[in-house]
Symmetry: C2
Subunit: 223 residues, 2 copies
DNA sequence: TAGATTGTTAATCGATTAACAATC
DNA sequence: TAGATTGTTAATCGATTAACAATC
């Protein structure tokens, strides 16, 4: 018989968890979901580390910030660890998300079906273009940005994705802040200036390519 | 008279530059470009730090990995530092880039006009769908993935963007590796297994949202 | 000159790794 | 029991910050 009792729950993160640790947690989650799809019941920190190019020690240390989730001699039960990590990340329940900007990128994000499995669902879209306001895109209603505060309150939206041109991004962010947003995923290639109580994560595609460029150009010297 | 002589050039990065440093370099570049657009000639590490939420000391230390680019008492000449950072990152000349996958995201990336200013240009698109192969998207020719090696050699492509569904990503990466790719920007939510001589940068939108979720949920406790 | 700001060193702080007793 | 693997501690390694002489 396998002991099925739940391990120590970890709803509250201790203070001072490094950002890098939280980022790896997402990687562990993604890989664990992949493993369960492949039919695996359990895995070990060493095995997971091999798949991700990390050491087992680092994985165990990362998890230790939040509690004890493994079984000595056995490893980790995939489903259980998935649930725990989702608890830690706060994605056990689906977050309703606002999308600002229905340009090319915005539409691509709307069509992307991968968010729901990870606990996110775009439930409202905002734009300033009167050609799209009032219509639906991919089944999601498009509102004017003036309605941000109303719709966000009504639908209990706390997170938003900004997918507008660089020149419009700060203004969009300001409106979101007014409307009480708590976190912004920003695709515009600018640094947003935001109050300290709003979290922002930026994704700049050019920056990612620059990192690639640097690595490729300097590969030989660093060998 | 302002001394206009170029500072020490920095074509080769010293060994062991932390990844975080290179990432910040991209941030400095982006912000400097913004400043020049606003008409500024010079700036200081302190000012730049304020804009980016970093300390001046960190910026000076980061730059010191690569050379001396500033003027005591004056700061940095924006245009000059922009050129130097582009040199360091390897984006002084435009990289021709391959895009694999012309789905929603692929098309959105093709329509995005921001790459060229930063030194990247998608010059060839690859897919397996015979409905698009042979056509053009946004003026860029679409080839079958079987032609990867040929086209990449011919157009001297070293970097590629993978924008295919998760299930097809590893296969696409394998083909790129066969064709001699040196760097891959991967948008599929999977860890690619690649030889050590190929660099990969991954962008997973769900992971970014998870980081946001964690930060928002844990904001109060960590205050 | 006085004021500003760099580049660099030393001190501090934080993250990763290695090792191993405890556990299954 | 023997083998495997965890959680955790201590040691190592790396990154950030603060301070300041040198410079313009």
């Amino acid at each position: 018989m396998i002991d099925d009792s739940p391990r120590q729950s970890a709803l509250n993160a201790p203070e001072g968890v490094p950002k890098a640790v939280v980022n790896r947690l997402s990687l562990y989650l993604r890989e664990l979901q992949q493993l369960t799809r492949a039919g695996l019941e359990t895995t070990s920190s060493t095995r997971l580390g091999e798949l991700l190019g990390l050491t087992g020690a680092q994985i165990r240390k990362d998890l230790a910030y939040f509690g004890q989730f493994g079984y000595p001699g056995i490893g980790y039960r995939c489903h259980e660890l998935i649930d725990q990590i989702r608890n830690i990340l706060g994605t056990s329940h689906t977050w309703p998300v606002a999308l600002v900007g229905v340009g090319n990128l915005g539409r691509a994000l709307l069509r992307y079906k991968g968010f729901s499995l990870r606990g996110f669902e775009v439930v409202a879209v905002f734009d300033v273009d009167h050609n799209v306001v009032g219509s639906e895109v991919e089944g999601i209603p498009v509102f004017h940005v003036d309605e941000l505060a109303d719709v966000m309150r009504q639908r209990q939206i706390r997170l938003a994705i900004v997918a507008v041109p660089a020149a419009a991004a700060q203004k969009a962010a300001d409106r979101l802040v007014e409307a009480g947003v708590e976190g912004i995923l920003n695709f515009a290639p600018v640094t947003l200036s935001l109050p300290a109580n709003v979290t922002t994560v930026g994704v700049d595609l050019a920056i990612e390519l620059e990192q690639l460029s640097f690595a490729v150009v300097n590969r030989n010297e660093n060998a």
